[in-house]
C-alpha cells in the first residue's frame, strides 16, 4: 500500500465533488479526487447511435443493477417500491440526469417552524443564494427570471423553447388561473463558454453528445484540472480510516489495477450521493466507530428520501411532438407547492411538464417504469391512436424524512471488489400518498383544461426506476445526538471529515436536488476556507 499524503481527498467526481473542489482549488492545497468510474467518450454516447433506445435498457441504463458495469455497485432494493438510479463516471449522475434545475423555496429550509414537521435546516435560502448564482454561471443555466414562486434571482441564459407540448400545457394552467413558469434547466438555450446549444434531441438520459446539457466533466472538471486538482479514475473507495486521535486518516481504495491502496489525507470529503456515501461510511468500522464512522448519533443511513414520482397523461387532438426537446423540462407549476391547511397533507408538490418519450420506451411502459404495453390489436391501436397525441404531467412530491427509510449494508451482495452493497428499506409515507391523490386530480384538471380529450393514465403506483434524488442519509443539524454533520457539512464526530452530497439534506423539498446539492457543496467548501482553524 502507498502511503503518500495529500491535503484533501474528495471521494466522488460528480456534481458535489466537483463543486467542493472548485471552492477549495484556489487555496494552493494538494487536492486529490478518487472516482470509481472513468471519463466518458462523448463521441461514443448512445445518442449518437441509430439503436439509441436499446442502450436505455442495457449498458446506459440509469439503473446500476441493469448496467452491471465494472465500476457499478449493485443495490438491493427488494424492500422498496423505488430503486435508486445513478451513473458512475467523471461527472457522476450529471452524465445521465435530465437537467431540470429548480431551486428550493425559502420555506423548504424552515419546515418545522412553518409546518411543524421534520426539522429546520441549520442554514437558510439567503445563505445558499449566492452559491446558487455562482453555480448557475459555472454550469450554464437557462430560464426566465421573475418566477413569482421565488425571490428574484438572475439566470445566465434565456429559457429553452416550450415546444408544442409546453405551450399546450401552459394554456391549461392559465385557463385554471394556476401558477406555471418555463423550467430552469442546466441545458444551454444558446452557445455558452465553448459549449453548443441544445438540439432538442429528447434523449438527455443517454448522455448529451452536443454538450448542451451541463455535466460536470464538461463544466467544472476542465477548470479544476487546470488549477491543479488531481483526479484518479477507476478507483473505488472501500473505507475511511480513523486515527487514534479520532481524526480521519484518509481512505483505503482499490486502484485501477484492482490493487488495494491507502491514501492519507488531512481532510476527507465524501461526495458519493445519498446512497454511496452512507454505504462507505457504514463500511468504515473501527473500535471508535463500530457502527460506521461518524455515526455516534445512529442517524447514518437513516431518513432516506427520494422524490416519489407518478404521472398523469392526457390524449390530445393533435400530435404533441413529445419526443422533441429536453426530456424533463418544459414548464413547471408550483401552484400546490406550499402547505395549505385546507388540504389533507402538509408540504406540497410540483406538477412538471416534461416531454413525452420515444417509441421503445412507450412500448416498455414509460420512462422509469417496467410495464409492457399490450400486444396485438391493442398494441397497434395505442401506437396509431395514442402515442403521438400524448402529453403528461409528472407529480413530484416532497418526501418527508422517516427513520425507518434506510440505507444499510448487505454483506451477502457485494461489488466486484467485495465491498458490501447498499440495501434499501423504504416505504412511501401516508402524507405523500395523499399528495399523489390530490396531485393526480389536479393534473387531470390541468390536462383537460389544456384541451385533452380524455385522461388515459392517472397516478397509480410510484415509478420504480425513479430513485434519482438520493437525500437525507447523513443529515445536517445542530444537535450531534440526531444529526451526522453540522451546518457546514462537518461531521460532528470527526472534525476533518465532511460530506457534501445529498446525504446532508434535512428535508427533500419537492424539486430536483442537483442545484441545491451543488450550491451546498460550494458553500461547504467556502466554509472550510473560512474555518480552517476549526478543522482539527
Amino acid at each position: 500500500m502507498k502511503k503518500t499524503s495529500v491535503d484533501v481527498i474528495i471521494v466522488g467526481a460528480g456534481a458535489s465533488g466537483a463543486a467542493v473542489a472548485y471552492a477549495l482549488a484556489d487555496l494552493g492545497l494538494n487536492i486529490l479526487c478518487l472516482e470509481q468510474g472513468n471519463w466518458i467518450d462523448r463521441s461514443d454516447l448512445p445518442s449518437t447511435k441509430k439503436d439509441y433506445e436499446l442502450h436505455r435498457y442495457s449498458k446506459f441504463s440509469c439503473d446500476p443493477n441493469v448496467r452491471s458495469l465494472p465500476q457499478d455497485y449493485p443495490i438491493n432494493s427488494e424492500n422498496s417500491p423505488i430503486t435508486p438510479v445513478n451513473f458512475n463516471a467523471v461527472g457522476g449522475s450529471t452524465i445521465n440526469y435530465l437537467g431540470h434545475w429548480p431551486r428550493f423555496h425559502p420555506s423548504d429550509f424552515r419546515v418545522k417552524t412553518l409546518d411543524g414537521v421534520a426539522d429546520d435546516w441549520p442554514i437558510d435560502y439567503e445563505t445558499l443564494a449566492p452559491y446558487y448564482d455562482l453555480n448557475s454561471k459555472i454550469m450554464g443555466v437557462s430560464g426566465l427570471p421573475g418566477n413569482p414562486s421565488y425571490p428574484p434571482y438572475d439566470i445566465p441564459l434565456p429559457p429553452i423553447p416550450l415546444g408544442k407540448l409546453g405551450n399546450t400545457l401552459a394554456k391549461g394552467f392559465n385557463e385554471l388561473g394556476w401558477h406555471w413558469w418555463p423550467s430552469d434547466t442546466s441545458i444551454l438555450s444558446r452557445a455558452y463558454q465553448g459549449r453548443n446549444p441544445c438540439v432538442n434531441a429528447g434523449t438527455c438520459d443517454l448522455g448529451c453528445a452536443s454538450g448542451a446539457k451541463a455535466s460536470v466533466d464538461l463544466t467544472y472538471w476542465p477548470q479544476l484540472l487546470g488549477k491543479g486538482v488531481q483526479l484518479k479514475t477507476n478507483c473505488r473507495v472501500r473505507e475511511i480510516t480513523i486515527q487514534s486521535n479520532g481524526k480521519a486518516g484518509g481512505v483505503i481504495y482499490f486502484d485501477s489495477d484492482g490493487q488495494l491502496q491507502e491514501q492519507k489525507a488531512d481532510l476527507v470529503i465524501m461526495a458519493c450521493n445519498g446512497v454511496g456515501t452512507p454505504r462507505i461510511m457504514l463500511n468504515s468500522r473501527s473500535k471508535e466507530f463500530p457502527d460506521g464512522i461518524a455515526n455516534r448519533s445512529g442517524q447514518l443511513g437513516k431518513n432516506l428520501m427520494f422524490h416519489p414520482l407518478s404521472g398523469v397523461v392526457g390524449l390530445f387532438e393533435e400530435p404533441m411532438e413529445g419526443f422533441k426537446g429536453p426530456m424533463a423540462c418544459s414548464i413547471i407549476s408550483q401552484e400546490f407547492y406550499e402547505t395549505d391547511p385546507s388540504r389533507n397533507f402538509v408540504r406540497g408538490y410540483g406538477l412538471h411538464g416534461g416531454r413525452f418519450t420515444t417509441p421503445m420506451t412507450f412500448a416498455l411502459g414509460g420512462y422509469g417504469v417496467d410495464n409492457l404495453m399490450p400486444w396485438g390489436a391493442e398494441h397497434r391501436r395505442q401506437f396509431d391512436e395514442i402515442y403521438p397525441y400524448c402529453a403528461g404531467l409528472t407529480i413530484v412530491t416532497e418526501d418527508l424524512p422517516l427513520q425507518s427509510n434506510t440505507v444499510t449494508l448487505d454483506h451477502e451482495l457485494t461489488d466486484s471488489d467485495g465491498i458490501p452493497a447498499p440495501r434499501i428499506n423504504y416505504q412511501v409515507d401516508e402524507n405523500t400518498q395523499r399528495m399523489f391523490v390530490h396531485g393526480a386530480a389536479r393534473a387531470e384538471e390541468a390536462l383537460l383544461a389544456a384541451g385533452a380529450k380524455r385522461i388515459i393514465a392517472s397516478g397509480g403506483d410510484v415509478w420504480w426506476r425513479a430513485g434519482w434524488h438520493l437525500m437525507g442519509t447523513a443529515r445536517m443539524g445542530t444537535d450531534p445526538e440526531n444529526s451526522v454533520v453540522n451546518g457546514w457539512g462537518q461531521c460532528h464526530d470527526v472534525k476533518n471529515l465532511f460530506i457534501v452530497d445529498g446525504s446532508i439534506f434535512v428535508t427533500s423539498a419537492a424539486v430536483n436536488p442537483t442545484p441545491t446539492i451543488q450550491a451546498l457543496a460550494l458553500y461547504v467548501g467556502d466554509s472550510i476556507k473560512k474555518n480552517q482553524n476549526l478543522l482539527f
Partner: protein
C-alpha cells in the same frame, strides 16, 4: 402471412415459422399496410442474436419454443392452417401458460422492433441518431411568452417569506 427471410441459424425452419407467426400477433401490421408487423420486420433476427449471446436466454427460448411446438401439435393443425383468430388464441394461451418465456419474448420483440431506425419515421421521429442533428423546435417569442405569463405575474408572489 408474409414473412421476411431470416438469416438466423439458431432455429430450424419450422421453429422460425412458428416464431414469426407469434411475432406477427405481438406487433401486427397497420391496416393500411404502411406499418409492418414484427414478423415482416425481421425481429426474429434480432431475437436470435440476443438469445445466442446469453446461455440462460437460449435455454428459456429453447424450452419456450419446444412448448409452443407441442402446443401446435396438440391443436391438430399446421401453423400455416391457422386463421387470425386461431393465432390470437394460440398466443393468448402461451401468454397464460408460459409467463416467463412470453414476457421475455414480448420485451425482446418490442426492443427489436423499435430499435430499428427505419421504424421511427412512421411515428414522426427521425431515423437518424438523436445527436448531433436533433430536432427543430422554434424559440418562443419573448413578447408572446410575456403575454402568456401575464396572468401568472398578476397574481403576485406565491412563495412564503421566512
Amino acid at each position: 402471412m408474409k414473412l421476411t427471410p431470416s438469416t438466423t441459424s439458431l432455429w430450424n425452419s419450422e421453429q422460425l415459422f412458428l416464431l414469426n407467426g407469434i411475432l406477427a400477433q405481438l406487433i401486427p401490421s397497420g391496416a393500411d399496410g404502411k406499418i409492418p408487423s414484427a414478423a415482416e420486420f425481421g425481429v426474429a433476427d434480432f431475437i436470435s442474436q440476443k438469445v445466442a449471446s446469453d446461455s440462460e436466454l437460449e435455454q428459456l427460448f429453447t424450452q419456450g419454443l419446444k412448448y409452443s411446438e407441442d402446443l401446435l401439435r396438440q391443436s391438430g393443425k399446421m401453423a400455416t392452417e391457422f386463421s387470425d383468430e386461431e393465432w390470437i388464441a394460440f398466443v393468448s394461451f402461451l401468454e397464460q401458460s408460459q409467463q416467463s418465456f412470453f414476457e421475455t419474448l414480448l420485451r425482446s420483440t418490442y426492443e427489436g422492433y423499435y430499435s430499428e431506425s427505419t421504424i421511427r419515421p412512421l411515428f414522426g421521429l427521425s431515423s437518424e441518431p438523436t445527436q448531433p442533428e436533433g430536432y427543430s423546435v422554434p424559440s418562443d417569442e419573448p413578447m408572446e411568452l410575456d403575454r402568456m405569463l401575464e396572468p401568472v405575474r398578476q397574481r403576485g408572489v406565491c412563495y412564503r417569506e421566512c
